[in-house]
């Protein structure tokens, strides 16, 4: 499906991209869409940070060729969008718990979407970024800047946040960040749901390009995830 760029805010390393789709797509927090410029053959998955009707916002880190191309977009440029894919957070998490949201860099996007839609399930939130660059396009409650506070997201969590018995964690970020969180909480008996990132081919489970090892065999992050109970997955492969 076509979508049109309505607005694009940029810093050196981030894009806040707003598009309008031809038709409304139902996107639940945690789901993703495959985005590609018209002249690209293969797209990549991106989480949504905000949606209202046909308007969708994405917070994107500029890390590779495709995201560098996205940074060149201008108002009224067209993109190809398909989805939404993946299982929504709400369908996988324990809804009797209150969640501490931990977002690493642009992994914050689906958590912010979740926080907007299901505020009653959110206890606290930390969206961690290394530098204050992000503030140029994006500034919300819960934003943590490593260089400003002289500590990273996990150090901040253990220093400032008091866990309640009913707390669980919903985390999203790079694989390195998820591994760090798994290690940091290895001695705690606490439920952690992690939304995993991966390079994907199809986004719908057919190509077997985004595997993760679980206690129930190899699963696809695109179709069986992207969210997994962290105790169920083996991230070392």
């Amino acid at each position: 499906m076509n979508c049109i760029v309505k607005d694009i805010k940029k810093t050196e390393n981030y894009i806040l991209l707003t598009v309008e789709t031809e038709k409304e797509i139902l996107i639940e927090p945690g789901q993703f869409v495959m985005l590609k410029p018209k002249y690209y053959d293969f797209g990549k998955p991106f989480s949504v940070i905000f949606q209202e009707g046909k308007i969708i916002k994405f917070l994107i880190a500029v890390v590779g060729e495709l995201t560098t191309e996205l940074k060149m977009l201008k108002e009224n440029d067209e993109l190809d969008i398909r989805g939404a894919y993946g299982i929504p957070f709400i369908n996988k998490i324990d809804k009797s718990k209150k969640y501490i949201l931990l977002g690493g860099d642009c992994g914050s996007a689906p958590l912010i979407h979740f926080s907007e839609k299901y505020p009653h399930l959110v206890d606290k939130k930390i969206y961690g970024y290394a530098t204050s660059e992000i503030r140029k396009i994006f500034n919300i409650k819960g934003l943590h800047i490593d260089e400003e506070e002289k500590m990273n997201l996990i150090e901040k969590l253990f220093k400032d946040i008091k866990f309640e018995n009913n707390n669980a964690f919903l985390v999203c970020g790079s694989m390195d960040m998820i591994k760090s969180i798994k290690k940091a909480f290895s001695l705690y008996n606490v439920k952690i749901y992690a939304s995993l990132e991966a390079i994907m081919g199809c986004g719908i489970g057919i190509c077997k390009g985004c595997p993760v090892k679980t206690k129930n065999g190899i699963k696809m992050i695109c179709k069986d995830g992207p969210i997994f109970d962290l105790s169920e997955v083996n991230l070392e492969w």
Binding site: F42, C202, I204, C210, I218
Partner: protein, 299 residues
């Protein structure tokens, strides 16, 4: 309508082995029965967990994959996938992978009574084998394999090749041993390096390159083989992303056209290609365009 090996295909578009899985996930998006055929993901005797991630990397005009033949193994395939494939109202091509002749014989024996139309022997996966060396690069071993498989197979046998050196010799050996058809081309090897770290991106370093980047290579290979083997049925594939691509493959000499990585970019793409092809064929005869480029070459 296309007919090869006495099998009727309602249209020339099939799903190539791999990107369509074993059909069940893709069937959530499209009616597989509208396809000319569907090729299953390569199945092996034992379950394969596949290669470690990352398995996919995007490159200009293509994608490199290093899936590594992840599959459930023949017993689980029969238990969980074959019933679904048996019930399809289109031609099913079962892709088989093995390390030796006895592997293939065992697979054929276990699947001989399925409803499949064709067995495709995958001798050219770029992501398995010692150091990634594909199976089937030797005339003698291909001849022996095909000869033995033909003794027991109740289905036509197609051999899937890549762009191997001396491809004509390998195909000649396969045909002499009784192969009924050829599938061309499997993904050639590709690589991408992160220039910031100097490291290869895929864990195995190399993977199978697919997408529009390989279409000219696939066309040239099919064209060359068709010139040398006028009658052997050919399933052509490699970067088919729209109906015009499909027509080029038919003109180069392919009887059937496989959609591989294209289906990864859009699950509806194969049906769109069929729809557009039908419009194209309304005023043309399929047989008139078939191999016309090859014929033209000789004029």
């Amino acid at each position: 309508m296309v007919e090869i090996c006495n099998i009727k295909f309602k249209n020339p578009i099939i799903i190539a082995s791999g990107p369509g899985g074993n059909g069940q996930e893709l069937a959530e998006y499209i009616d597989l029965n509208k396809l000319g055929g569907f090729t299953s993901k390569t199945v092996t005797i034992k379950e394969k967990e596949g290669n470690p991630p990352p398995r996919i990397v995007n490159v200009k005009a293509g994608i490199i994959n290093s899936i590594g033949l992840q599959n459930p193994g023949i017993e689980n395939f029969i238990k969980n996938d074959l019933k679904f494939l048996n019930n399809l109202k289109t031609n099913v091509i079962l892709s088989l992978g093995g390390e030796n002749i006895s592997d293939y014989l065992m697979l054929v024996d276990k699947l001989n009574n399925s409803n499949a139309a064709i067995f495709e022997l995958n001798l050219s996966c770029p992501n398995v084998g010692k150091d990634g060396i594909p199976l089937g690069i030797n005339e003698k071993s291909i001849f022996e394999l095909v000869q033995e498989v033909k003794k027991i197979s109740k289905k036509p046998i197609f051999i899937k090749f890549g762009v191997e050196t001396f491809l004509e010799d390998l195909i000649n050996a396969a045909i002499k041993a009784g192969a009924d058809g050829i599938t061309l081309i499997n993904s050639p090897k590709g690589m991408k390096i992160d220039i910031n770290t100097g490291k290869v991106i895929l864990k195995r370093g190399v993977g199978g390159l697919s997408g529009p980047a390989i279409k000219p290579i696939a066309l040239a290979t099919i064209f060359r083989i068709r010139r040398n083997f006028r009658k052997i049925p050919i399933i052509g594939m490699g970067g088919v992303f729209d109906y015009k691509d499909a027509i080029e493959f038919i003109m180069a000499g392919a009887n059937l056209v496989g959609v591989g990585s294209g289906v990864m970019t859009d699950p509806y793409l194969p049906l769109k290609i069929i729809y557009d092809l039908e419009n194209y064929f309304k005023n043309k005869n399929y047989n008139e365009i078939f191999s016309c480029a090859v014929e033209g070459y000789y004029v």
